[in-house]
């Protein structure tokens, strides 16, 4: 799947009704990847690709999960891979606006204490000082 223009939604769903949409924007020195919908095995490879592409460009990355209605372990694995890749490259990585559905799964995986999590991009920028 081609990388969408900044700020434009790309559709990772099979038929446009179920699945995941995503878009990227730049804010405060970060790339912000916004995911929307169900991040499951059918579209987590796209989420992983977008996360790694941002990091390969040497950008600090925040993943916005505020519009994620469901995430499974394959989606969580994409986030873990991003977190580890960022660490290796000395880049900043974090999650923002984590939805209740996504937080429940992160807590099940005991990853809610591993990822840097903030309520919004603005809060993260404030925390960065």
């Amino acid at each position: 799947m081609a990388t969408p223009a900044e700020g434009a939604w790309a559709d990772s769903s099979r038929d446009g009704t179920w699945g995941m949409k995503y878009k990227t924007k730049e804010e405060g020195g970060y790339s912000v990847l916004e995911l929307e919908g169900d991040v499951d095995l059918s579209c987590s490879p796209d989420a992983r690709k977008q996360i790694l592409q941002c990091l390969e460009k040497g950008r600090h990355l925040l993943v916005d999960l505020s519009a994620v209605s469901y995430i499974d372990s394959s989606g969580v694995a994409s986030l873990v891979e991003g977190y580890q890749t960022a660490k290796k490259r000395a880049l900043k990585f974090g999650l923002v606006g984590v939805s209740i559905a996504a937080m429940n799964v992160l807590q099940l995986a005991r990853l809610d204490k591993v990822f840097p999590i903030h309520s919004s991009v603005a809060e993260r920028l404030q925390a960065d000082g």
């Binding site: 099979r14 499951d40 095995l41 372990s73 891979e81 580890q84 429940n104 799964v105 099940l108």
Partner: protein, 146 residues
């Protein structure tokens, strides 16, 4: 895809081993748990566990081959929901299917952990004559069971 309802069996669903079918599984599991009067919180956790079980079949039993099939049965026995998931792939090595240590932060390997955390009981075995695998998961209904 075929689905049918009966008084004891809430659902029997035959689905292809394809990732893009998981969304339908989640919708139907959610509906079955609601029908059994599970709480909203438990319903969402059951959706997670069954989705992970189906993912394991797709990724590990069928190794990503979408030509396989799996059969999900959900039974309300009055006090518990029983989820039975059969596949017809090569029998898996049962010793290799176990939850991993979460202190080891790495991608993957969380599915069995989710199932263990959410379900009261789970058991993976082989179908007769090496015909495939069967996972049975049980969870007490936390609301007002029918």
């Amino acid at each position: 895809m075929q689905a049918r309802l009966s008084p004891q069996s809430l659902l029997e669903l035959r689905i292809p081993s394809k990732a893009d079918r998981l969304c339908l599984v989640r919708v139907l599991v959610r509906r079955a748990a609601e029908e059994a009067r599970c709480s909203k919180e438990l319903t969402e956790r059951l959706v997670v566990a069954v989705n992970e079980a189906c993912m394991n079949v797709i990724q590990h039993a069928y190794k990503g081959n979408g030509d396989g099939e799996m059969v999900l049965e959900i039974i309300n026995n009055g006090a518990q929901l029983v989820f039975r998931l059969k596949d017809f792939a090569e029998p898996v090595d049962l010793n290799k299917v176990k939850p991993r240590e979460l202190e080891d932060i790495r991608p993957g390997g969380l599915g069995v952990h989710f199932i263990r955390e959410i379900m009261d009981d789970w058991h993976l075995g082989h179908l007769e004559a090496g015909a495939g695998n069967i996972l049975e998961m049980t969870k007490k209904i936390d609301g007002d069971p029918r």
